[in-house]
Amino acid sequence: MPSQVLMPKMGYDMAEGKILRWIKQEGDPVNKGEAIAEIETEKVNIEIEAFEAGTLGRILAGPGSVVPVGDPIAVILKPGEKLDTPPAAPQATPAVGAGEGNEAVPQLRRLDGEQAVAQPKLPPQETRTPGPAPGEPHGTRFKASPLARRIAKEMGVDLRDIGGTGPGGRIVKRDVMRARPAAPAPAALAAERVPLTKMRRAIARAMTGSKAPVPHFYVTVAVDMDKAMAFRKQLNDMQGMPKVSLNDLIVKAAALALKKFPNLNASYGEDAIDRHGDVNVSIAVALPEGLINPVLHQADRKLISEISRESKALAEAARNGRLKPEDVMGGTFTVSNLGMFDVENFSAIITPPQAAALAVASAQQVPVVRDGQLTIGWVMKATLSADHRVTDGAEGAQFMAEWKRLLEEPLRLVV
């Protein structure tokens, strides 16, 4: 039986992926584990591997196509098998004229628990569903509206790299606008419209999906950072150590504190709170086009030096667009540090399905009272955002107190 290759789900909120290119062509032999196509998701690019040996019988979605997760993108034939019919759409009741070999099969969904609705007798050009026509082998002529062609030409965008969402898979203006680099504002206009990048859309979707349904509450503490800063200096004065940043200490402290407060390293589930066990800290990295959160896995078990090395590597990869899928998956808690921007305090939006996030602001020199005396110290404010379905103010406060204690007595980070 020919087997279908499906668009894989490579992330909690991934709904669709874009086919960048086919590494194997129709008719090519494929070995198990061999890469057959390159897919772009909102966060990273990945290669899809063949899960069994055979021949790539048919490509169902050409380069540039945007395909929902779970939908078939190719068919692999085992030796001796043949492909004789175009891939089946949901079964049509025979009463209304069966497909007259029309290639452009509409992407219909069967209504749950009901008889499949009879397919309309539409000539192929009439289908108004978005998305490319399945069965159209890659490399053939593409359809694009005159406006889309014009914009693409001027922007230097190759139409072959773009998936069409217009009628019958036609490339239309919005497809080109999505693909092109953000255009500089024409001098004549007073205002600027910056097309949304895929990253911005992803951020918007994730944050909107978090803010409304998740009941956030916030706990702020002010941490006396003198000892932590001295500790850091000591570490960095040692030979052979990677340069440790305050954020590395902050992340380690958070990871250790989370072991004592597992509700904050959890997710709200239907009937239960899923405590994750491992502490995988998502570190927010700012990019010109937005934000991405690579993950430091098992941060609770890592040495400060390891955290330091890994954070730097992840940030570097993020800036160069070279993060791998596992680098952005599995985060259980987020640390977001705006300390480099001279910010007094801020609060973060929790990234679903996590239950909490820590927003760290700048350490600032301010008057402090120690032993009844007025002196100058470094104070850093941080705010915990927590999901009230999973934890409460008291627990949040206790977590923050523990985190603060670890930073104010930094030797505890290494014992």
Partner: protein
């Protein structure tokens, strides 16, 4: 049990029902008055027939320009009404036939919906999986003013009444008001047209309003803009309307008053709260891009949604709703881009953004305007008032809107509509050879003007 019951058999409802039947849904349609709804019976269709009559009346009155002279020219208004009613009758029979052909059950009576999935008509309860509300709208009335059909009437009465009031006040200078003003004026009534905004047809491009205002004034139609009605009194033989204008109060004495100040949605026999159907502050049913309401398995289309109260919009919404409910992905309607037309003469037709709207959206705007004066066909017809104005984005020539006033311009909309659907630009209109001599050449010339290289102007 039906798969779908459509409430209302106007252009929205009956089109939706036919599409639903095509897609295999067991469909019924409820109609309490007459198949075809307002459009076929009391709106679009009869008025277009009357307007045709009025157009001929206008031509005859200017007969000497064309070399015609008459003694005792008589205009029989009751015959005009009779002809328009026969057109209506043909149309409604046609709808009846379409319902039969598509095996759609027609339930006659008023629909009452108080529970989900159940539509009551004439004492019988019809269970259904889905409901599509296409109940339309009715004329908005002023508080305290009752329609008696004689002194005070609306469009609904107008298409059936045969007497011509010597003096007629029309309240409302939108498409309906200006169309009736045209009809009654050319049949001999002295018409006063009262409009609250500062120009006639205020939804159109400003230049169109200006030109229409000028032409109506030249005809002898009294136009009062920026004028609000304060009071209406009826007497045995007439109507007195107190109007507050920009220059002070005015009292208008007339024989009758036609109300055309707007519409209100028909949601009376549906328990909106119980069913969970959200309405907006004006009472229109709130819908999403797929014409779905906030209630499960209930869709709404047409005038009752208040999006753009035109028959072809209702029909398209009907297609969208039915295709959405059967698992297709219908197009998302951009209401601003849908065509609208007013059938007085000169006709008015437009779609898309006006120049000012386009600028407000941040477009670098290129405008091409071709007057009808130099257009051969317009000259041959003897109807040279008006223009075609194309609004485009200068960067790529993207067509943003077209605004026209002139002879038969309603027929010129489709060309621009198709261009927009295909994302064609000014260049494609330029590449298309337009037959000569036609009025459509004005569209091409407007495109050339927008490109900076007109040939005939």
């Amino acid at each position: 049990m039906h798969d779908l019951i459509v409430v209302g058999a106007g252009p929205g409802g009956y089109v939706a029902a036919i599409r639903a039947a095509q897609l295999g849904l067991k469909t019924a349609i409820v109609e309490r008055e007459s198949l075809g709804g307002v459009c076929l019976n009391w709106g679009c269709i009869p008025t277009k027939a009357l307007l045709r009559n009025a157009e001929i009346a206008e031509l005859l009155h200017h007969g000497d320009k064309y070399g015609f002279s008459f003694d005792n020219l008589t205009l029989d208004f009751s015959k005009a009404i009779e002809r328009s009613q026969s057109v209506v009758s043909l149309q409604t029979k046609g709808i009846g036939f379409l319902m039969k052909k598509n095996k759609i059950d027609v339930l006659t009576g008023s629909a009452t919906i108080t529970r989900p999935g159940k539509v009551e008509v004439g004492g019988q309860t019809h269970p259904t999986k889905r409901i599509l509300l296409a109940t339309g709208a009715q004329t908005r009335l002023l508080p305290g003013v009752a329609v008696d059909g004689k002194r005070i009437f609306t469009a609904r009465e107008a298409v059936a009444r045969t007497d011509l009031p010597p003096r007629l006040v029309i309240l409302g200078g939108g498409p309906i008001g200006v169309e009736f003003a045209y009809v009654y004026h050319h049949y001999g009534s002295q018409v006063t047209l009262v409009e609250g905004k500062d120009r006639l047809v205020p939804q159109e491009d400003e230049e169109i309003s200006q030109l229409l205002g000028k032409i109506y004034a030249q005809k002898g139609i009294k136009v009062l803009t920026s004028s609000m009605v304060k009071e209406i009194q009826t007497t045995a033989d007439g109507v007195t309307v107190q109007v507050e204008t920009a220059r002070g109060d005015q009292t208008i004495q007339a024989d009758a008053c036609l109300m055309a100040i707007g519409i209100v949605p028909n949601t009376q026999d549906i328990d909106m709260k119980r069913l969970g159907i959200q309405t907006d502050e004006r009472g229109y049913i709130v819908i999403d891009d797929q014409c779905k309401t906030t209630a499960a398995d209930v869709w709404a289309i047409g005038d009752v949604t208040g999006k753009l109260p035109l028959a072809h919009v209702a029909s398209m919404q009907g297609i969208v709703a039915v295709e959405a409910m059967t698992g297709h992905t219908p197009p998302v309607l951009n209401y601003q881009d849908l065509p609208r037309a007013t059938y007085c003469r000169p006709q008015i037709a437009s779609l898309g953004l006006t120049e000012s709207q386009a600028k407000a959206k941040g477009h670098q705007v290129a405008v091409g305007k071709c007057p009808f004066r130099p257009v051969g066909k317009a000259q041959a017809l003897g109807e040279t008032d008006g223009f075609v104005k194309l609004v485009a984005d200068a960067q790529y020539g993207e067509i943003l809107g077209v605004h026209m006033i002139g002879p038969d311009v309603s027929e010129l909309l489709a060309e621009v509509g198709v261009a927009k659907t295909l994302e064609g630009t000014l260049a494609e209109i330029d590449l298309t050879v337009h037959a000569h001599p036609t009025l459509s050449e004005a569209v091409k010339e407007a495109a050339l003007a927008a490109l900076g290289r007109p040939i005939h102007i």
